[in-house]
Amino acid sequence: MTIAVYLCVYACLAVFVIGVVVRTIRYARTPIHLRWELYPVPHEQSDRAGHGGSYFETTDWWTKPQHFSRVGEVRAMVPEIAWLQALRESNRPLWYSSVLFHLGLYLSTGTAVLILLATMMPSASSRLHIVYSISGYAAMTCTLFGAVGLTFRRWTDPGSRNYTSPADIFNLQFFVVACAVLVAGYLVRPPISATVVQFTRGLITFDTSLQVGRGFGAGIVLSAVLIAYIPFTHMSHFIAKYFSYHRVRWDDHVNARGGTIERQVAEYLQYRPSWSAPHVGADGHKTWAELATTNPSLEVKK
């Protein structure tokens, strides 16, 4: 039983990491797109960022130094990640459940780190015990009630119901069940069962002598499978969010002569598109650059 749980956790963590890495690389490797930013862009200088202005508000902007405020970005990112600021401002009814759910996930991650610390520092284990116990139960409670709230919203809000797939409900219920089984399994574990710190230590050292209660083990397995499942669903939007904010919405990088962007675009301009509409003029041989420099109106005239 213990070995099976260990193997399951190892495998699921590996799947999660590989899934996240593969997906991240896939997005990172897509070509630089044409500029498509949206204002406000928070790394703009503070007197412009406040009203959503850009360097285009300055005459001869190309003769002036480009401003990039990492602090400005962090100040926009922290409330967005921690507090789901955009949702809070634009969709308050959903925000209550969503922020609870996400808070649960953040607390879960924090609790995992604390448990790891307790495993590595036995001397501090008893002091950390109180902290990770509180954060752990709070994490499970927030996640569980958040997931229930989100499910309720999907069922009751006509706008959401129309677009909810069976998988959306399954995903949320997966969280509910995993949290419930993990907490219940841990609370009713028999005295011979390992504690969470002992289990984590055993997981690291592959200590097969450890006993894991059935309920607790089931909770661990369910949670591990859930973690492995995330990168293959839209729940991996923590990956998307990096790209959609930093590489699209806030990407106002200028194409400087002789710069990196120009070099990359030069490569894309050699692509050979195959669009079929006559005015495009693609034949699979002409490059993007050649097509962009033809005039279909004059071609038709000939």
Partner: protein, 535 residues
């Protein structure tokens, strides 16, 4: 009906409209349009139109796609659509927008935050068809099914949809029910972009199937590339028109103006939306006067495409977009100007200054900037004397989406109106949180069938509400009011929408650009540049 429209109904095999929009469903408007007698009835599509074209979406028709003659033809079109769908997700074919499109396809949680932000959804009274993700969800399901080749598991995970010609035909029309203002994207917690989905769908239909709104393609970018301007003006005609405008402006202001043409090595190449020259000649005239008074070394170009900043490809076709942008840059390079300055046209700003930035490489990368910053600097410099009391009438400022939310030019125009217009008032919300005029993405020039009814009742309604609210303290006809819109397309929309609701005749709301307000306040010009006449 609006709450129960199932997404799968888009594939229903008939030509019936999916929804019917009724006036009673729409967002209520403030006075004077709270009076039911001033609400307009919708024209219905003619029987000829419904028999000839695909009009199965919502009782109007923007693109006029001919009905296929038979089932074989339908199958050919569906196959073409599928082929385009695959290309949309390949780097070779769509490197230009692949990354944001993939992100939008794969990570939407259907939270509906976008719906709260969409002026079309709100103005329609929450009509399900206009919910921003209704369109996106169709593409998303097609993507997982046909591009990712998902089976039953994928259908369970992402939902299923039946691909057939009625669905494709409806999707073509639906891609033209979005102004591409991207207000929805601004509020998306994950940063996804339903506006981009409409943009990419239009590209698929144009680049693969050769289907686009004729006002954007045949009468738009194709005509521009052929004769030099989508207005149809050849270089000779445009020079004649500008000469007439110079004469008129000189007479009206008492200050001699001569627009310089094709000046080598000028500091500024000014490119107007050529529609201004035809429809609102006082705008290019006012520009010429201001630049002359400020002593700017400037020029216009009489080369093909060089005198028209419009770039409709921005809204539907990457290749047409690139062709026009490259022409603009080539002309500037040949003239050896120091910079290109874009006149009062929002989408031209966005196209040339922002989106084209990564297409203009090497010596085509000519500096480009907004006319609004240059105007702000001129007005604030003290070179020209102003008398703001000449603008002593209520003024409100419309923020063109392409200039403001999509380019970040927010304050220069405000600094000008705050200085020159003592009775300036903001709309709420404004700046980067503005609402689209309803004419964005080409709608302002699209007037086929009864599409204008939809454009004014639905797309422009939220903006109309804002305008009326901004002037609520002086809405009566005794006070002339000025709606300042520094964008040609927005002005076109306001011209048509204000006329549709009779708001000039009955309430004296006039629309116009920014430079007209500047010239109207020039102390050294004859007073009364703004003539308070409808045009």
């Amino acid at each position: 009906m609006k709450d129960t429209l199932d997404i799968k109904s888009v594939s229903q095999r008939n030509h019936e409209s999916l929804v019917h929009v009724e006036n009673s469903d729409l967002l209520p408007l403030p006075p004077p349009l709270d009076d039911p007698s001033r609400e307009r009835e919708w024209a219905t599509l003619t029987a000829q139109a419904t028999q000839k074209y695909e009009c199965g979406l919502d009782d109007t028709c923007a693109v006029s796609v001919p009905r296929p003659a038979n089932e074989i033809e339908e199958q050919r079109l569906v196959a073409q659509f599928l082929s385009g769908l695959e290309k949309l997700f390949s780097a070779e074919n769509n490197w230009t927008f692949l990354q944001p499109l993939l992100l939008t396809m794969e990570h939407c949680t259907h939270c509906q935050t976008c719906a709260e932000a969409c002026h079309i959804f709100e103005a329609s009274g929450g009509n399900e068809l206009y919910r921003p993700i209704f369109r996106s969800e169709i593409l998303r399901r097609l993507y997982f099914k046909y591009v990712k080749h998902g089976g039953l598991l994928s259908a369970w995970q992402h939902g299923d949809i039946e691909l057939n010609w009625p669905m494709v035909a409806r999707l073509i029309e639906l891609s033209y029910r979005c102004n591409l203002c991207r207000r929805c994207a601004q509020t998306c917690p994950i940063g996804l972009d339903n506006g981009l989905v409409a943009h990419e769908l239009r590209k698929l239909f144009s680049q693969e199937m050769g289907i686009a709104a004729k006002e954007l393609h045949q009468q738009g970018s194709m005509l521009q590339l052929k004769v030099g301007s989508s207005t149809g003006m050849s270089p000779e005609v445009v020079k004649d028109n500008i000469a007439f405008i110079d004469e008129d402006i000189s007479e009206r202001t008492g200050i001699e103006v001569h627009t310089p043409w094709d000046v080598d090595s000028a500091d500024v190449l000014l490119i107007h939306n050529a529609g201004e020259i035809m429809a609102w000649p006082e705008n290019p005239g006012a520009f010429a006067l201001i630049l002359t008074m400020a002593g700017v070394k400037w020029t216009m170009s009489s080369e093909l495409v060089g005198y028209d900043s419009i770039n409709y490809g921005l809204w539907y076709d990457d290749f047409q977009f690139a062709r026009v942008a490259l022409k603009h840059a080539e002309i500037a390079r040949k003239l050896k100007v120091k910079k290109i300055v874009v006149g009062e046209c929002g989408h031209a700003h966005k196209a040339l200054c922002v989106v084209a930035d990564r297409l203009l490489c090497g010596d085509l990368n000519i500096p480009r900037e907004s006319s609004l910053t240059l105007l702000r600097d001129i007005v604030m410099s003290g070179q020209i004397r102003f008398d703001p009391t000449r603008n002593d009438f209520p003024v409100t400022l419309h923020d063109p989406c392409n200039l403001v939310r999509l380019m970040g030019v927010v304050e220069p125009q405000r600094e000008i109106v705050q200085l020159l217009c003592p009775r300036f008032r903001e709309m709420e919300p404004h700046g980067v949180n503005n609402y689209c005029c309803g004419g964005g993405s080409g709608f302002a020039i699209m007037s086929g069938h009864n599409f204008p009814d939809w454009r004014f009742h639905v797309a422009g309604r939220k903006k109309l509400q804002q305008v009326l609210t901004a002037f609520s303290d002086c809405i009566g006809p005794e006070t002339p009011k000025y709606l300042c819109a520094p964008c040609s397309n927005c002005k076109g929309q306001f011209r048509d929408m204000l006329a549709y609701y009779d708001l000039w005749e009955q309430n004296r709301i006039l629309y116009g650009g920014l430079v007209e307000l500047i010239v109207n306040a020039m102390a050294d010009a004859k007073p009364g540049f703004i003539e308070w006449e409808w045009r």
